[in-house]
Amino acid sequence: MENFTRLTAIAAPMDRINIDTDMIIPKQYLRTIKRTGLGSVVFDELRFNVDGTEKSEFVLNQEPYRRSGIIVAGDNFGCGSSREHAPWALLDFGIRCIISTSFADIFYNNCFKNGILPVTVKSDQLKALMADASDRENPELTVDLNIETIIRPNGGRVAFKIDEFRRKCLLEGLDDIGLTLQKQRKIDSFESKQRVNQPWLYLENESN
């Protein structure tokens, strides 16, 4: 996983609430066995007409937002299904950071596993950042995870908070599984205790 320290990028304004994972990546694209290649169809139905041509009113089809690295969106971003294809598709398009007033839990989790930083801000802050992003002349934001701060085009600062473990993993690009496997002994000892206390949870016992 690529680490995330500080990002300066164009921010695309998506001023609507409840952007769900079906909108981010419709299910016909879930039939892949890979993680990559979904950037070309991210936001498929919002972005393209049935005949495959672009919908000009959609923000990512407009300049300079075609090169966005950040999305600023309304409340409850990423609600709906657990599909990790949603962050994969965003990442493959080039989105490394999403700013909203709230995120759906599973989506929020999935972002960290893929090197995307989801930032939660208050609603007046979101309004200001939405206005920044909507300024076509200068829609660039800087997001610095080290100091947990967004730097606005006018130099203004918005502080945010990410829990410590996630922040560390993202800053260093650490792989969760590798970290957990270092705790193998603790897992072993949990299992031996559980096997005694709740033997019915172990199949070799269930079948007799």
Binding site: R16, I17, N18, D20, D22, M23, P26, K27, Q28, L30, R31, T32, I33, K34, R35, E45, V50, G74, D75, N76, C79, G80, S81, S82, R83, E84, H85, P87, S102, A104, D105, I106, N109, N110, K113, N114, D163, E164, F165, R166, D176, I177, T180, L181, K183, K186, I187, F190, E191, Q194, Q198, P199, W200, L201, Y202, L203, E204, N205, E206, N208
Partner: protein
Amino acid sequence: MTDPKTLFEKIWDSHLVDVQGDGTCLLYIDRHLTHEVTTPQPYEGLRQAGRSVRRPDATIAVLDHNVPTDWNEKIDEDSQLQIDTLRRNCAEFGVELYEVDDARNGIVHVIGPEQGFTLPGTIIVCGDSHTATHGAFGALAFGVGTSEVEHVLATQTLIQAPARSMRISVDGDLPAGCSAKDLILAVIAKIGTAGGTGHVIEYAGPAIEALTMEGRMTVSNMTIEAGARAGLVAPDNTTFAYLQGRPRAPKGDLWHQAVSYWKTLPSDKGASYDKEVIIDVSGIVPQVTWGTSPELVAPITSQVPDPADAPTEDARDSWRRAIDYMGLRAGMNMAGIPVDRVFIGSCTNGRIEDIRAAAEVAKGRKVSDGVRAIVVPGSGLVKLQAEEEGLDRILTEAGFEWRSPGCSMCIAMNTDRLEPGERCASTSNRNFEGRQGRQGRTHLVSPAMAAAAAVTGELTDVRGMLP
């Protein structure tokens, strides 16, 4: 004296493998359900890192999301590749897979309980958001992303931040014509689709206790639609009676040992919750969604609301967009809106009780001209049981199509889907834009309401059609 604990706290605390300095927990996962769509990447990841599946005995795999529900139908290449990939991975990593023609196969959240794989007091995960279904058994069950699937396969654990707790107490008797589906839709109408964000919801109260396991699963299933991480119902005699004798449930002495443990699980008197909601369902009316989010729901006796009445500016926009997408007008009666399609099935309403409810309404009636109605049992075993009870004949004589198990039109990954502009009364759980097919329009309803829509050709108050 120890502090009183909630059911959720009891399960959480008994699964802690490690707690990190910042409070993040490493939790042990007892049961892992897998399916074809969210497993190719995790197995590939294991292979690349030279890792194995830690507990194949605690993992099962099904084929449900994109298998055709008409076995004569040809499957598309991408779906076939996913299915073959799961077969190969299960064989290589030693995980049991239920094949398409195995009666035990079916929708992942239907077969877990049916096999007794789902047990009280356990932590269960699956790469699918409706894993919350299993919470009906007093198991902490939640959906995970694909990377987390890999994490569980490799380590049998997950890294989780503690959730807050919420209790929804449901009082009153459900009126005739209303089901668990109407109950949960009414709850979502009250708290909203973000009402449970960051929380684990415990459903309690007389109306929940009175539900069958099927009904409790319907309620728990849609917890995710209220934004919560998981839903829970305390295990009781209804739970134990459902589980006893199931293939993977404990037997003999172990059964008694398990039941005495499960009886210690319900929340202690005086346990506290971060949030409490009380709802009385004795006055509810069958529910139907009119918008593109499950919270945009109303009684069948009411009208499509006017966006001008929305509580906030954001909501006004989203109502307007939803009404437009759904091809409706503010103020029109919900009853009488014509439908093109009817779908009865999914992990929300694909169990035997749901099919019975649909058949009760369909009996002696005919599917309206121009309406195409399909019934998709949640598993091979549900299908067999329905056939034993003669429900398939009642339904097919009425003009419903009787299919083989799968997710079908709930997710529309195969040819079971809406055409642009088509309107569907559906017993599934999501009415998002495009969920049942591009530009498709979904009204979420109970199985009885769906059957009523099929035979009348329009959204209808089923209460007038019951014996």
